[in-house]
Symmetry: C2
Subunit: 108 residues, 2 copies
């Protein structure tokens, strides 16, 4: 119960392992320039894998790998149209953080 109290306090002492993992993974997703560029593209539109690759001058496999990473964290989703997959963002909270931080950084 002491343990329970400590865990229910969000700050104060230490975080439990699962929370720590989720939080670090989330920020890690935003900690790579390529993934930031991809998410930035998806702010207001959906795009195919090749569409992203061509716009950002990246290899198809690079984009696909990074999209899988983002998909595993449920930061993006896709819809299929024929053989084409259209990706879009799927986490408002994360996109909001990204937007805020980009705007914050632009002032430098």
């Amino acid at each position: 119960m002491e343990n329970k109290e400590e865990q229910s306090e969000i700050h104060g002492r230490d975080l439990d392992e699962e929370t720590l993992f989720i939080v670090s993974q989330t920020f890690k997703a935003l900690g790579d320039p390529t993934r930031i560029r991809i998410l930035n593209l998806l702010f207001d539109k959906e795009l195919s894998v090749n569409g992203i690759a061509e716009t950002l001058h990246l290899k198809q496999s690079t984009v696909s790998h990074q999209l899988r990473f983002l998909k595993n964290l449920r930061l993006v989703k896709y819809r299929r149209d024929g053989t084409t997959l259209y990706y879009s963002h799927d986490d408002e909270h994360v996109m909001h953080m990204l937007k805020q931080t980009i705007e914050h950084a632009c002032h430098h």
Copy 2:
């Protein structure tokens, strides 16, 4: 000028290299469990290097290295009292993001 217009659009196309670097570095700082634990400790109090190390059961050199990382990004600051350095957070925006994300993650 076309280039200028594209850069001034925050979304839409691509981000300039400097913005990309700042944003990715910021999130990278939050993308490591050890640094998250350290910042979480500093939410509402200042702590010495050894204080952090003992609380989190980390080596002194580990904590010192991570604090240097965070200090370079101006996410923490310190004040000296004798031979002891008391560290505290120094970026409200980042701490707010961290808090939000921790609370968000706790619901899982």
